[in-house]
């Protein structure tokens, strides 16, 4: 009887934890039970639910077992962290609507400069067009970060029967390993990777990495990223995870022509950790935010980065995770309209982003919406947006024309 009341996940957690360790538990009790606080002497609920007769509590194994024996208790669940799955974040930015229009990234070359990739992961296997190694001897991912990032941009969800699909699931991947197993590297290795990606004629480069400290965009890495943009490549860069203080965007996030990406959650709140502008020379950054909290995506074999979900997937947070959402969005937009310049792509994403009510140095132009960008139509504002300047005359028309609409 006791076993039937305790959920499988809670049972498993009880076996894994020491007897005295407390676990987060949701207790459902019978209606006639007057108050949850009476359930376990000396234990106050952390939350009392009204919709159903239940309470969240922190209990040790003995308390859980004792509760399961009580006639007044119906069920006990482990209170588990909630995660924004890729299917959730893709929906938030309306990628499926662009896929339905026929654009899934076919023919697009996405370069990911990171910790490498697991080439055998089903979500990316067979779509890695080229690799390069600038640290160590192999492009294989010995950290997990690079595989996670690449699959957010272009994973096809093969290991999840199509549940965790990346933003541009039919794009080709160009992988440069510029970060070592500990997730660190040198600016010059990243610069070499950017050069390689430009030589590979990548359409878009994703850099989910950065240095600490404020910058003004004149350092060598930032200048290299801007030079790649000048060559016609869109470069998306993570803003950094040093928020919420101001002046926390590092290099190359402070580069002038890149798309600097902050992180939001699936409730359209800017993540506390997401770095804020301005740059040290006073420019607004980030340029835009994309989902980057609790993102479930591909897990490289033999790695345990983030919060492991299962053999093939793991959950992680950071502007690292937000950036490949932007990368995939750019690939979709460029497939839909190959004549867009990097400057036009950036302007389009920013002008169609949804204002989620934060100051510009936290949200940039707002949270990106790839379908609105595809349509060339500004996103409807959040219910109570702060006052923001209207786009200048002619901009909206220009955007519509980019996609052959509006004459």
């Amino acid at each position: 009887m006791e076993g039937e009341k305790i959920s499988k996940a809670l049972s498993a957690a009880m076996l894994q934890k020491p007897e005295a360790e407390v676990l987060p538990v949701i207790v459902k009790y019978r209606r006639e039970q007057l108050a949850a606080k009476a359930l376990v002497k000396g234990v106050a609920p952390t939350y009392q639910y009204n919709l159903i007769p239940a309470a969240a509590m922190r209990l040790n194994r003995a308390q859980i077992s004792w509760l399961a024996e009580q006639a007044s208790v119906e069920h006990l669940w482990l209170d588990m962290p909630v995660q924004a799955l890729l299917d959730t974040s893709a929906r938030i930015i309306q990628a499926p609507a662009v896929w339905q229009a026929g654009f899934r990234g076919q023919g697009m070359r996405i370069a990911i400069l990171d910790t490498g990739i697991d080439p055998n992961h089903p979500d990316v296997a067979g779509r890695i067009a080229a690799t390069a190694t600038f640290v160590g001897n192999s492009y294989r991912d010995d950290n997990g970060h690079g595989t996670h990032v690449a699959s957010i941009a272009a994973g096809n969800g093969a290991a999840s029967r199509g549940l965790y699909v990346g933003m541009a699931p039919e794009a080709s991947l160009y992988i440069a390993k510029v970060l070592a197993a500990d997730g660190s590297g040198m600016m010059s290795d990243v610069m070499a990777g950017v050069e390689w990606a430009v030589e590979q004629r990548a359409h878009v480069i994703g850099l989910s990495l950065g240095s600490s400290g404020p910058c003004d965009g004149t350092d060598a890495l930032s200048v290299t990223c801007d030079a790649a943009v000048e060559r016609g490549v869109v470069v998306c860069v993570a803003a950094g995870n040093s928020g919420p203080g101001r002046y926390t965007v590092g290099s190359p996030g402070c580069a002038r022509q890149v798309i600097t990406v902050g992180a939001s959650d699936d409730n359209d709140q800017v993540a506390s950790f997401s770095s804020r502008g301005p740059t040290s020379d006073g420019r607004v950054k980030p340029d835009i935010v994309f989902p980057g909290v609790g993102i479930v995506a591909a897990r490289a074999a033999g790695t345990a980065m983030g919060q492991v979900v299962d053999e093939h997937y793991t959950s992680a947070s950071g502007t690292s995770m937000a950036t490949p959402h932007a990368v995939g969005a750019v690939a979709l937009l460029l497939q839909a309209n190959p004549s867009l310049t990097p400057r036009e792509v950036k302007e389009l994403l920013m002008r169609t982003a949804r204002n989620i009510g934060y100051e510009a140095n936290a949200q940039g132009a707002g949270r990106g919406d790839v379908y609105q960008a595809y349509l060339g139509e500004p996103s409807p504002p959040s219910p109570e947006p702060p006052p923001t300047p209207e786009p200048g005359p002619g901009c909206f028309t220009t955007i519509l024309r980019l996609f052959g609409k509006g004459n």
């Binding site: 970060l179 660190s184 590297g185 040198m186 290795d189 950065g210 060598a220 992680a316 947070s317 950071g318």
Partner: protein
Amino acid sequence: MPKADERLIRQLEQSPAGEFHLILRVSGDVEDVAEKLRATPIEVRHALRLIGAVAVRAQGKEALRLLDEPWLVRMEEDRPVRALA
């Protein structure tokens, strides 16, 4: 504009035998400069054509000598970067 920040120059002076990772922005042909540097004890890590730069590993005293080279436009530290998850 000085070729290097005062702070970096001080570090090089204070640690002439210390090892420094540097990015040198150069004028002229990057490969020519890299070739010249390879003939010295300085290790060339990358020749970067996109912006005309060479990434090197050098002792402080060697780096200080580079400041007098006419082809050197700017010297800066090659700083660490990290994955942002």
